[in-house]
Symmetry: C2
Subunit: 191 residues, 2 copies
């Protein structure tokens, strides 16, 4: 059972998911394919699913003053979804496939109700949200009181896969700097 393995990888092999959970999940989960450029979730719309990304890359972004501002990138074996949708509200962000993608789609409502009944599920969810919060904290540290060069070097050191798989235009937005500045920074480093 795929999902079971997946969760055990994170939480250790002693994690035992209830049979009822696995049964419900296997019927609620659907494997979907998306092509490069497809938008899975649209800003402003309620989207009652979240995804486990098995293959490909996704970016999350929103519009401000006609500019796309990028929140994060996700690749293989990461969870993707809108926190707002988790609470029944419209997503504040759009999610676009940067590559062809294969995802497992989960129904949020079904998951939420399981989470209210099954303590293991509740703790698994907990674990992932905590991870996400820590990611956001790290990111804040990169943006608050740090100059462009330092932000870039952080990616080089801690998120080097972005350099391989993300266009520089997106990376610049993610870093909160302009395309041009990123370009100049990279040149300074090579020399």
């Amino acid at each position: 059972m795929e999902i079971n393995d997946l969760i055990k990888n994170y939480l250790g092999n002693d994690t035992v998911l209830s049979p009822s959970f696995l049964a419900e999940m296997s019927e609620a989960a659907v494997v979907l394919s998306f092509k490069k450029g497809e938008i899975i979730i649209k800003e402003g719309e309620f989207h009652p699913y979240f995804y486990f990304l098995q293959q490909g890359g996704i970016r999350s972004y929103y519009l401000a003053n006609g500019l796309e501002i990028i929140n994060w990138f996700a690749f293989e074996n990461e969870w993707v979804g809108s926190i707002q949708s988790t609470q029944g509200a419209a997503s504040r962000d759009s999610f676009e496939c940067m590559e062809d993608c294969k995802c497992i789609r989960f129904d949020i409502q079904k998951f939420k109700s399981l989470q209210k009944e099954d303590i293991v599920v509740a703790n698994v969810v907990n674990f992932f949200i905590e991870e996400f919060a820590i990611f956001l904290e790290d990111r804040l540290r990169q943006l608050q009181h740090r100059e462009a060069m330092d932000r870039y070097l952080y990616v080089v050191e801690h998120e080097p896969e972005y350099l391989q798989r993300v266009p520089l235009t997106y990376l610049a937005s993610y870093l909160g700097i302009s395309r041009e500045t990123l370009s100049r920074i990279r040149r300074r480093i090579i020399s």
Copy 2:
């Protein structure tokens, strides 16, 4: 029972906490007082407690290049603690009382083990982490691709209590700008 009321305020009166939870909590929770300037949690130290702030104000900050950089402020009826300590690691931040404070202190270990057994506790924790993640997301939007004036106006509109209770030096750091820039921005707004 105070803690019960407290949680019901958040989750609605239909939330029923198990008697065993309440019993454990009332013995694990301690009410503490701190004076202005006291440091509750020190950067780099493991701190196995978190707090519910009943009275006063706390700031979270860390040192970078000898500068204190402020993460957030907390006031009445907010939860305060280090996410890293939740995972058994040392705190990356210090927590200082900006005013005299009254807190309820909880033992993280005890809470965690309850969370593994009691599904209501697990879901309550879930709720608060989710809230925290949304706060962090909002904050990221303020720092990424936004200029100083906009950052300040966001506080004026959404976090006006900070203007009353936080020294401008701290507020500037929170906004990721210098004291002087904040001062000039405020003058521009008055005129």
